[in-house]
Structures are given as structure tokens and as C-alpha cells.
């Protein structure tokens, strides 16, 4: 994938080998823009039996050029098992080059979804006409959080319980501070605040962990296809609510902010979670907590760059996401002194 000039030939050979009967010809191959963590490309395929189709490739950037490091083996295993459960619409994972011998880097070949991302659609939708999209978004999120975690086998690690899980999640702020190349005082402040303001527990569920409209493709009939599962884990489902809130506040539009109470009410109805567990306070709590997964990845990229092990425009460009994170931490972790929380 790192050399687009040779990809049509290599991809055609790879697909032909996997098919066994037909011969593939790649008639178009184009890099896709908009993906931040992985290389993406789209290829139009002509098969020897006369059929045509489009596939999407999702591969690792060259060594030392990734803004975050995640594991393609784990992602492919998860995509396969999620696809088997049929619990959520997503592009089917077709093939995997786990060695990079065929496609030049570890690469997953996926079905192509004809349509636009929800982010693109929202960008073109007037503010007063977004209500239907908000409902669809909530329903998609609720479907992810309703996946039976037992159906996933060992594709994702299972935390021992909610208390231990939350403690470990909070401790990731301290861990990020310890491991970073320079001190980040925000992190221990947030960790201490989160420890002191723990919410009521919820059952542990599948957490997408990068739940944002750019990772939802909308098909011709309006159906949602969720993509980009590389950070998915078993955790507290409110992480996705909080992450959605902070991400969409930065990029816009934020469908939660259009009608916060209505948003949470629908989510509670779709998931069966209680108002004690899902409310404005817990939304604020998880808006501070949830960003740590992506934040820690970006921070690691920054540390690697400072140490001379990593580089590339994406790493430097996304440094500002850390500042966005710091702003969210400060907005969420208010002091109970009768002024800040009033």
C-alpha cells in the first residue's frame, strides 16, 4: 500500500489467489483521504466472469509514520467475529494480508459501502433538520452496546468487573503521565478528580472507542455501517457517549447538544439503562474519562517523535488534539466549591 504504482498488480494477484476460480483485474486504485490512523484505499475490481465490485483496503502506514500504533491482527479477528454475529451493520472483512507479503503492509480487505459518511451528511444538513440523524446515531450506538459480549469469544479481553475496570481506566491517566517524555500535570489532576467522583456502575459492554460520525457510513437506504474498530474493547458503554460528545464538540455538529435530555432519554430507552446511570452528570464524567484511549495513543506518538523514533505530518498535526483533550479535561473536572459547579 505504500507504493500505489504497484498496488493494482499486487491486489489483483492477492484477490485471485483468495478466490481460487476467477481472475481479478484492478481497473482503478485510489488512496482514500480522511483516514487519520491507517492508510485507506479504494479499488474497483473486474472479475474474469464479467462481474465487478469495489473493495476497500485498510493497512498500516510505513514504520515510524503512524500517529498511533494499533494491532491489525486483533482488529481483523474482531471484525470477523463481529461480522459473524450480525449484531451490527458493518462492511464485511473479506481477506487479510497478515504478513504484508502480498500488499506491502498488514492490510485488511473490506467490502465497500456505497454512500457517504454521516459526518459528510451532517455537514450538509441544516441545524433544524438533524433530528432524524440524531435518532439514527443513538440507535446505532445502542446496537453496539447491546451486542452480547459472550458472542465475541476471546476476540476482546474481558475485564474482571466494573470497579476494577474503571480503576484501571482512571489509572491510564497516571500511566500516560509516567510514560510520557515530559510531565503532563493535567493527567494526575484528572485522575484524582475522576477517582473522587465515580458514577454508578453499568454492565460492561462492547465500546467502539472512536464513535464519531466520520466512522459511520450511511447506505443508500439510510442504514448505518460502523467502521474503524481498531480501538474497540469491552468497557463501560458510557465511554462512547462521552467520546462522541467531546469529539463532536471539536468538529461539529454535536447532535447531543442539540437536545441533551432527549438524546439521553432515547439512549436509555434503547439500551434499558437507568437514569441513575445515564444522565447529564455521568455524561460529563465520561466526557472527561473517555478521551484517554485516543489521547494516550496520540501522546505515545508525540513521545516517539520527540525521541526520534517516529515522524510524519500526521503525528505533528494531531499534537493539537492533545490540547483539545486538555480543554475537555478542564471543562469536565470542576471543583465542588460552590462556584465552579454552580
Amino acid at each position: 500500500m505504500h507504493d500505489p504504482a504497484v498496488m493494482p498488480r499486487r491486489l489483483a494477484s492477492f484477490l485471485t489467489q483468495h478466490d481460487g476460480d476467477r481472475t481479478a483485474t484492478v481497473v482503478a486504485y485510489d488512496a482514500m483521504v480522511g483516514g487519520y490512523s491507517r492508510l485507506m484505499a479504494r479499488a474497483d475490481i473486474q472479475w474474469s466472469d464479467g462481474t465487478t465490485e469495489t473493495v476497500v483496503l485498510r493497512g498500516d502506514p510505513p514504520p515510524g509514520k503512524a500517529m498511533m500504533e494499533t494491532d491489525r491482527d486483533s482488529e481483523y479477528a474482531l471484525l470477523r467475529v463481529l461480522g459473524d454475529t450480525s449484531a451490527i451493520n458493518m462492511p464485511r472483512a473479506r481477506h487479510y494480508d497478515g504478513s504484508g507479503d502480498h500488499l506491502g503492509t498488514k492490510c485488511i480487505v473490506l467490502d465497500h459501502v456505497a454512500g457517504s459518511s454521516l459526518q459528510t451528511i451532517l455537514n450538509e444538513t441544516p441545524a433544524g433538520e438533524r433530528g432524524g440523524h440524531a435518532h439514527d446515531l443513538i440507535d446505532t450506538l445502542a446496537r453496539i452496546h447491546s451486542i452480547d459480549v459472550d458472542s465475541l469469544g476471546d476476540a476482546l479481553p474481558r475485564p474482571s468487573g466494573w470497579d476494577d475496570y474503571l480503576s484501571a481506566l482512571i489509572d491510564r491517566f497516571r500511566q500516560a503521565d509516567r510514560e510520557h517524555i515530559e510531565s503532563m500535570p493535567f493527567l494526575r489532576f484528572v485522575a484524582a478528580w475522576l477517582d473522587a467522583h465515580r458514577p454508578p456502575p453499568l454492565p460492561l459492554r462492547v465500546v467502539h472507542s472512536d464513535f464519531q460520525p466520520a466512522n459511520i457510513m450511511v447506505g443508500a437506504g439510510g442504514e448505518h455501517f460502523v467502521i474503524d474498530w481498531e480501538l474497540t474493547h469491552i468497557g463501560d458503554p458510557r465511554e462512547d457517549l462521552g467520546y462522541y460528545n467531546v469529539y463532536s464538540s471539536a468538529l461539529g455538529p454535536n447532535l447531543f447538544m442539540d437536545d441533551p435530555e432527549g438524546f439521553l432519554q432515547r439512549y436509555r430507552k434503547r439500551t434499558g439503562f437507568s437514569e441513575e446511570a445515564v444522565n447529564m452528570q455521568t455524561m460529563a464524567y465520561f466526557s472527561s474519562l473517555a478521551a484517554i484511549t485516543v489521547y494516550a495513543q496520540v501522546l505515545r506518538g508525540a513521545a516517539a517523535m520527540a525521541a526520534g523514533h517516529n515522524g510524519g505530518l500526521m503525528t505533528t498535526y494531531t499534537l493539537n488534539a492533545l490540547t483539545i483533550g486538555h480543554g475537555n479535561f478542564m471543562a469536565g473536572c470542576l471543583i465542588d466549591n460552590g462556584q465552579e459547579t454552580a
Binding site: 487519520y36 466520520a214 490540547t323
Partner: protein
């Protein structure tokens, strides 16, 4: 050395050239997005070049003053006080008055370690006045980060 035009001016001039000359000659969408990202990074660099030494010094002073204030609170636990003492000692022995960037970032880091320990101790103390004071120091740091960031969005996401 030549001090004028300043580094900030030179970097901003490169940014202007990138936008007026290079971007105009490019049609590839992926390269267009890369140019937008570079434009942003150059703007960040110009702002940092103009202020980072002064800002790091200002923040370091504020962080050390806060750590010393927390250290002096009588209700602090022995463990918290010991950690703050250790970090303040490390700052005292490792700090430098040099304005060379590497020296300044090292001093700034040591002050940040003191601040981290003091913030967690302040949160554990339940002293809301102390906690608010700690937040104010973080707000100063955040204000500087946001000035460097300027206007920023996820270019190309959609």
C-alpha cells in the same frame, strides 16, 4: 546572529508561500489535505517560536509556587508531602537559568513533575481553595496551548 526577521516571521512567510504558490499548483486531494495540515503546523511553530521560552518560564514559576504552597498545608499526608519534597528537591538540583531551549524544556519538565504531585495531593486534601488555585495554574498552561493551536479542526475528516 540575525534576529530580524524573527523566526516567527520567517515561518509565517514559508506558510504564505505554501498557500499561494504550492497549493495553487496542486490538484491531488490527498496532497491538498497535507498542505492544509502543513499550514496549520507552520502556524503552530511560528507561535511557539515567538513565545515558548517566556511561557515555559512563566508556567514553571507558577507551578513551583503552587507546589510550595501545597507542601506547606498542615493537613497534607506524610506520603504526599514526601513526594512533593522529592520532586521539589529534583527541581532544585536539576533546574537551570539557561534560556537554551533544551535546558528550558528540562527545567519546565521538572517543574511539571512538582505540579503533578502537588495537584494530586491538593485533590486528596479536600481543600477546595487549594484545588481552585491548582486549576488556575493549569488554565494558564491551557491558555498557552490554545494560543499555539489557534484555529484547528480535523482537516479532511468527513
Amino acid at each position: 546572529m540575525l534576529s530580524r526577521p524573527t523566526t516567527e516571521q520567517i515561518v509565517l512567510d514559508c506558510r504564505a508561500e505554501l498557500l499561494s504558490t504550492i497549493d495553487a499548483a496542486v490538484t491531488d486531494p490527498a496532497v491538498k489535505i497535507a498542505i492544509q495540515m502543513m499550514e496549520n503546523v507552520l502556524r503552530n511553530c511560528a507561535e511557539r517560536a515567538a513565545h515558548e521560552i517566556a511561557w515555559m518560564r512563566e508556567e514553571a514559576d507558577a507551578m513551583i509556587a503552587f507546589a510550595q504552597r501545597v507542601r506547606a498545608v498542615s493537613t497534607m499526608t506524610d506520603a504526599a508531602r514526601a513526594e512533593i519534597d522529592t520532586t521539589l528537591d529534583a527541581f532544585g538540583s536539576g533546574r537551570s537559568d539557561s534560556l537554551h531551549l533544551d535546558d528550558m524544556t528540562a527545567t519546565y519538565h521538572l517543574a511539571g513533575v512538582c505540579m503533578s504531585a502537588a495537584l494530586e495531593a491538593a485533590m486528596a486534601s479536600g481543600d477546595s481553595a487549594l484545588q481552585v488555585a491548582g486549576r488556575e495554574v493549569l488554565q494558564l498552561r491551557l491558555a498557552h496551548e490554545q494560543a499555539i493551536m489557534g484555529e484547528w479542526s480535523f482537516v479532511g475528516r468527513g
